[in-house]
C-alpha cells in the first residue's frame, strides 16, 4: 500500500488559493471552516514564499493520541481519518495539531464546538465509500474512485503534490536538482519525522 502524503513546493506556489476554493467546493465545507489554506511568509520581502497547508496525515498522529474518545483511525493508505459519530467536539486535537488542521462548526452557546472537521485526503470517512451519508459528513471520497486529492490535482503550477510519499519526494528531489534551489518540504520533519535530502 501507498503511504499518502502532501508536499507543498513553496518555490512554485503562486498563492492563487485555487486549492482552498477547490477543497471547499468539492466537499461542501461549511461557511467559516477551511480544510486547506494558503499562508504567505515574508510577504512583500525578498524570499517571499507561500505554503498551502492542511492536515498532513502525520505518522503517529498527535490528534489521535490526545483524543479522549479515540475517534481517529489510520487507513491502509496511511490517511488519518476520524469518526464524526464518536467525536464530542472537545477541541483537544486542535491543541495537539502542529498544523492547525482541525476545524469546528460553532453550535450552541459560548464557544461550544460541534463535530470536528478536517482534510480527509479526499478519502471520506468510516461510512460506505461514496455513500450519501459519507458525502454529507466528510465530503467526496475521491480516493475510493482511484483519484488523488482535488487540491493537488488541479494545482496550476503543480506546487502542491499529493500521493505516495516516495513518489512525490522523488519528484521534488528532481525539481530541486534541476533548478538548483528549494526551500524544503514544509512540515515533513514535524509530520513524518523525515526530510527530503536535496
Amino acid at each position: 500500500m501507498a503511504r499518502m502524503k502532501f508536499l507543498c513546493d513553496a518555490d512554485r506556489c503562486i498563492e492563487c488559493n485555487a486549492c482552498v476554493t477547490a477543497c471547499k467546493n468539492e466537499h461542501e465545507v461549511p461557511w467559516g471552516m477551511n480544510r486547506r489554506r494558503v499562508v504567505t511568509l515574508n510577504d512583500g520581502k525578498p524570499g517571499e514564499r507561500s505554503v498551502s497547508m492542511a492536515c498532513m496525515h502525520c505518522t503517529d498522529a498527535p490528534c489521535a493520541a490526545v483524543c479522549p474518545v479515540n475517534c481517529f483511525y489510520t487507513t491502509a493508505d496511511a490517511v488519518v481519518l476520524h469518526d464524526k459519530d464518536l467525536c464530542i467536539g472537545c477541541g483537544y486535537c486542535f491543541y495537539a495539531c502542529p498544523f492547525g488542521a482541525p476545524q469546528y462548526p460553532k453550535v450552541g452557546n459560548f464557544g461550544t464546538r460541534g463535530k470536528m472537521d478536517k482534510c480527509t485526503f479526499c478519502a471520506g470517512g468510516p461510512e460506505p465509500d461514496g455513500s450519501k451519508v459519507e458525502y454529507e459528513k466528510y465530503g467526496a471520497n475521491r480516493l475510493a474512485e482511484g483519484k488523488l486529492p482535488l487540491c493537488a490535482e488541479m494545482c496550476s503550477t503543480k506546487s502542491l503534490l499529493a500521493g505516495d510519499g516516495d513518489v512525490i519526494a522523488q519528484i521534488y528531489k528532481e525539481r530541486v536538482a534541476k533548478r538548483g534551489y528549494g526551500s524544503g518540504a514544509w512540515g515533513w520533519q514535524t509530520a513524518y519525522h523525515e526530510t527530503i535530502a536535496t
Partner: protein, 333 residues
Amino acid sequence: MAALFARLRFVLGALALCLAVSLTVPVPSSAQTNPNAAAVKEQQLLDQLKLIQGRGTIPDVKSYVIEHPAGRDWREFHTVWLKWIGGIAILGMLALLVLFYLWRGTIRIEGGRSGRKMVRFTGFERFVHWLTASTFVILGITGLNITFGRALILPWLGPEAFSAWSEWAKYAHNYLSFAFTIGVVLMMLMWIGQNFPTAADIQWFKMGGGMGKGGGHAPAYKFNAGQKLLYWFIVLGGAAMIISGYMLLFPFYGGLTVGNMELAEIFHGVVGVLFVALIIAHIYLGTLGMEGAFESMSDGTVDLNWAKEHHPLWVEEEQRSGGAGLVTPTPAE
C-alpha cells in the same frame, strides 16, 4: 601548414571566449543577487520562532499559523505527565486514607454525646456548601473522564456508548461550571473572616491536628488550621480552575491563542487532579473518618462535646457571645 595555424587560432580563440564568458556571467549562488537563495527556510524559522506564522487571505486569523510544533509538548503532557500526576495524587491519597483508617479508625467523640447541640452551619452556609460540593463531584468525574476515560472506561463501555456518555459529560462539565463558580465565590465571601491564620493554628500543626492516637485535642476556632488550608485551596485553586476553565470554554475569545489554551489545559489538569485528591480526604474526614462531623453539614448542628473537643475556642467564643449557637434540646412532653 597555413591550414593548421588557422585551426589552432580557432581553438585558441574559442578557449579565450569561454574564459571571458565565465568571468563576466554573475555567479548564481551569491545571496545578494539571487532571490531564490534568500527564500525563507522552514527549519530556520522553526529554530528561531518555535512557530511559523504568515499572512493569509481567509477571515480565520488563527489559520495564519502554518506550523506550531509546541502542540507536541502539550501532547506529551496530556498523554503521559497528567496521567502520572493524576494517578499518583488520587490513588496515593486513597492509599493514605486506607492506611490512616486501618491505624486510627473512626475518630470518636471521646466524651461521648452530651445530648446538647450547637448550631454550626446555617441553612445558607449548608446550601452554599452543597451547591459547590454537588457540582464539584460532577465536574470532577466528568473531568477525570476526559483524561482517564479512554483507557479505563472505553474498553468495557464500547466506542458508541462511551462517546455518548462523554458528550453528555462535556455538556455537564461546561454548564455546571457556572454553578460551581457561584458556589466558590459565595464560599469565599461567606467564610473569609474565619479563615485568616491565628496563633492557635501553629499550635494545631504542632499537635498534628490532634489526629493521632491520644494526641489530645488541638485548639481551633470555627475552622482549624487544616480546614483553613482547605478553604484557601478551594478559593485559590478554585479561581485557577475557573479562570483556566473559562479560557477553554470560550476558545479564541479576546485574542486567546492556541498556546494560551494549551497552558490553560495544563493548569486545569494539574490543579484539577490535586483538587480531587484533596476533596477525597475532605469527604473521608467529614464522614467515615470522624464521628459527629457529618451532621454539621446535614442538619447544621453538632454535639456540644464534639465541638468542645475539635473546636474549643469556637465554643468559648459562642458562649461568650451569649451562647447564641447553643440549642437547648426540646424537653419531652
